[in-house]
């Protein structure tokens, strides 16, 4: 290089250089070569002088230092450290008479150029150029805030390299490398925005350069543009496939080159902006997907458990299958220690995802049924979810000796880590759900809230089944009681009725004729009330039978009209009509035969008529009984107090009344039973009423009796 390029020369003008050499002539010669560039040169003859000069320079900048290694008062290397401390930016060259590979390598590692003494102006200029390049590279590296993208230009011809750099100057910062090796080093150090490289170079050529650069992860994203000549089609394809982004043909068209570099750089910059987010997002996305999958699995488990735990009303909750499903979902082992409700024995259920661990746990459960003292202890300590260790329990004196032995037995089988959730509902303790893991295994993510949710469902299922059992038991007790009660109530009615009837028969023989009417009236009253009582008790008995599903029917050919007339006669005979103050009018067909239950039909007519008389307010009662197509139609109409609209539907309910208890007596069962009878006979019943005016009960009964499935 006879002359430094104008660019380089311009940069050198600003530089300050320290020359340390005890050879005054050599030093002067170097100074002379560098003079035209306008650099500020400081010379020193010895280390001591160098130090003095540095001291005087104080705060001022030193850009380069060229130090002769063999100085009279020591080696230049000691000065290097001092210089670096005072002027961290200084670019160093050590002039050495003994150049060998080792020294060169060491120098390179310390970022010191080891050079031989320059003997010609050309060598001096070369040295300066090298120092300047290095300096520039360091400046570039330090200056990351520049808007201009950095391009590394790799071209072994210095003139070409300079020319390219010049053409890129307006838009880019450039750094030059003249061979593949330094290109790699600079690429790693400076992380340029783009690399522009010639393909044909001595040593590491463009092709190798691409391959090597693409292997380094830190820089494999830097776009590489290759400069190739015409006719290198195969080479170009090969290079593109190796990882180069683009190529330009020589001779280089400057506009085109700038355009291509511009595109590549902006593309890279956008990618660089997104890259950290993308990988973070990717990480987040992965974990998000995993989270969603896990939640799906967990909610699937919970809804399936609902089916297992809440089966038919009178069934036991499926605790064992639920446990199995749990361990298959989250792995590890699980147990339910059930110590309630009061009508169930204590139970220990276990399951494990691994077959052999499952075996081991089942073995343990069969050998160690739940102990009352363990249960007792759990009651007091496990009021909230707890993470605990079996190995700790084994050493905990608050547990009984036998309980501790059990803990030891489990530890011996390899289980240690537990998470227990109490099965607690409204202050009632039903047991504990525990997740059981082997020593060293941790619980899967989200397992704890899942266990708590599952425990809640298990508790509800146990409590639910218990409450249902309690309720049905209570109902059964009540029905049994009613059944016994009605039977007992009926017992005295038998002798009562027999005796009064017997008395009534004998009246003419034992009573004086003028007293006969009076006494007869009284016995009638007694008999009537026996009837009322009998009816009430029968209603009670029927109601319990209906509840127990024992309200049966026997079907024969029955004449409804005959029954109506018989009932009317009976009420007349027994003075019911007179007592109620009602008159009775019948509009009844001669005969209406159907397939019904005689006794129930009679009961039906009796119920309707006695209601009509009771609420009839002493006004006429009409009974109509006619055929209507395939049905018999019976209606009972009274002109009494009537029924309010809102009560019409209710009155057929069991125990329902549309009037106050005190004023009209009765158990409120009559219409309920009546409705059951009507349905049992295959018919319908309706009521229509105007309060204070009238009430009509209409019954429709199919002559053929009920179909196979009686209507509800």
């Amino acid at each position: 290089m006879t002359e430094l390029s104008l660019r380089l020369a311009a940069r050198l003008r600003e530089r300050r250089v320290l020359l340390v050499d005890d050879d005054a002539l050599a030093s002067a010669a170097v100074s002379r070569v560098l003079q035209p560039y306008g650099m500020h040169i400081v010379t020193a003859r010895s280390l001591q002088q160098a130090r003095k000069e540095l001291g005087e320079l104080r705060g001022e900048r030193i850009d380069f230092a060229v130090i002769d290694d063999g100085l009279t008062d020591g080696t230049g290397r000691s000065l290097v450290t001092e210089l670096r401390t005072l002027h961290p930016q200084v670019t160093l060259a050590v002039v050495s008479s003994h150049l060998n590979a080792e020294r060169l390598l060491r120098g390179w590692q310390q970022d010191i150029a080891i050079v031989s003494k320059p003997t010609s102006p050309t060598q001096v200029r070369e040295l300066m150029a090298a120092l300047e390049e290095r300096r520039y590279q360091l400046d570039v590296r330090a200056d990351n805030s520049s808007e201009k993208p950095l391009v590394l230009v790799v071209e072994d011809s210095p003139a070409m390299n300079q020319a390219i750099c010049t053409s890129l100057d307006a838009e880019f910062r450039t750094v030059s490398a003249f061979d593949g090796a330094s290109a790699i080093r600079l690429a790693l150090e400076l992380r340029p925005d783009a690399i522009l490289s010639d393909v044909i170079m001595p040593g590491i050529g463009g092709a190798d350069l691409v391959r090597i650069l693409r292997q380094r992860r830190e820089i494999d994203a830097i776009p590489i543009v290759l400069m190739t000549g015409h006719g290198d089609e195969r080479l170009r394809s090969k290079l593109l496939s190796e990882g180069a982004q683009d190529y330009v043909l020589k001779p280089i068209a400057e506009e085109e080159l700038r355009g291509r570099l511009r595109n590549l750089v902006s593309h890279m910059r956008v990618r660089a902006l997104l890259e950290p987010d993308a990988s973070a997002q990717h990480r987040n996305l992965e974990s998000l997907v995993a989270e969603v999958m896990r939640q799906k699995r967990h909610s699937g488990l919970l809804s399936e458990s609902g089916k297992l735990l809440f089966g038919p009303l009178d069934s036991e909750p499926g605790l064992q299958p639920t446990l199995r499903m749990l361990v298959e979902c989250v792995g590890g082992g699980a147990a339910i220690l059930q110590c309630g409700p009061p009508d169930r024995a204590n139970m220990l259920l276990v399951a494990h995802a691994d077959a052999d661990a499952d075996e081991s746990l089942k073995n343990f459960a069969s050998q160690h049924p739940p102990r009352p003292d363990v249960v007792e202890h759990l009651l007091t300590t496990h009021r909230t979810s707890t993470a605990w260790r079996l190995s700790e329990a084994a050493n905990d004196d608050s547990y009984s000796k036998l309980a501790r032995e059990q803990a030891v037995a489990l530890v011996a089988r390899g289980f240690d880590s537990c998470y227990s959730v109490p099965l607690l509902a409204r202050g009632t303790f039903f047991g504990v759900l525990t997740s059981l893991r082997r020593s060293g295994q941790s619980r899967s993510q989200g397992e704890e809230p899942l266990l708590e949710q599952l425990a809640m469902r298990v508790t509800h299922a146990i409590e639910h089944a218990w409450l249902y059992r309690e309720a049905t038991h209570a109902v059964r007790l009540r029905d049994d009681f009613l059944s016994i009660a009605s039977h007992e109530l009926k017992t005295p009615l038998n002798p009562l009725q027999l005796q009064v009837q017997s008395l009534q028969r004998k009246l003419p023989q034992v009573v004086a004729p003028d007293s006969l009417a009076l006494v007869s009236q009284k016995t009638s009253t007694i008999l009537r009330n026996i009837d009322r009582l009998t009816r009430l008790v029968n209603d009670l008995l029927d109601t319990t039978r209906i509840g127990a599903g024992q309200f049966g029917f026997e079907f024969t050919q029955v004449d409804l009209c005959v029954i109506v007339r018989e009932v009317a006669e009976m009420f007349e005979e027994r003075g019911e009509l007179k007592q109620a103050g009602c008159t009775l009018q019948l509009d009844v067909d001669d005969s209406l035969v159907g397939r019904w239950d005689r006794i129930r039909l009679e009961q039906l007519v009796v119920n309707l008529l006695s209601n009509a008389l009771k609420y009839g307010a002493g006004r006429p009662v009409y009974i109509e009984c006619k055929r209507q197509g395939p049905n018999a139609r019976l209606s009972v109409k009274d002109h009494g107090i009537g029924i309010a609209a809102e009560d019409l539907k209710r009155i057929f309910g069991r125990f329902e009344r549309a009037v106050s208890v005190r004023h009209y007596g009765g158990l409120g069962l009559g219409l309920y039973i009546t409705k059951q009878i009507v349905h049992g006979l295959g018919g319908h019943i309706e009521v229509e009423s105007e309060p204070g005016v009238h009430t009509v009960f209409s019954v429709q009964l199919p002559l053929d009796g009920p179909s196979e499935t009686p209507p509800r």
Binding site: L498, Q499, Q501
Partner: protein
């Protein structure tokens, strides 16, 4: 002679009274076991009035036992039932008649007179 099989003393007394007033000789057994003992011992009533007495099924066992015994199966039986299921029981047990409690006097007397000294219905 009518054998009344009824555990309720009041009821048994009333039945006895009204039937005696009609002229029937009356014997009483307190329960099914008692009745069987009397019958096995040689008693041969012209009619038996047997309380079915739900939920206790002494009446059932008795009637079944009588049917099984050749020497006893011809005795006419009238069941006294506390509910309307009497007909079902009557058919199943092969008795002559049934009466629902509380028993109506007229019905009782008619039924008794109908079946007194008659044979048992064929199965």
């Amino acid at each position: 002679m009518i054998l009344i099989v009824e555990d309720d003393a009041e009821n048994a007394a009333s039945l006895r009274e009204v039937l005696q007033e009609e002229g029937y000789p009356i014997e009483r057994a307190a329960d099914g076991a008692d009745a069987l003992r009397l019958l096995k011992g040689g008693m041969r009533p012209d009619l038996m009035l047997v309380d079915l007495m739900m939920p206790n099924i002494d009446g059932w066992k008795l009637a079944t036992a009588l049917r099984a015994d050749a020497s006893l199966q011809t005795i006419p039986i009238v069941l006294l039932t506390a509910d309307a299921r009497g007909k079902e029981a009557a058919q199943q047990l092969g008795v002559n008649a049934y009466l629902s409690k509380p028993v109506d006097l007229g019905t009782l007397l008619d039924t008794v007179s109908l079946h007194y000294r008659s044979a048992r219905p064929s199965q």
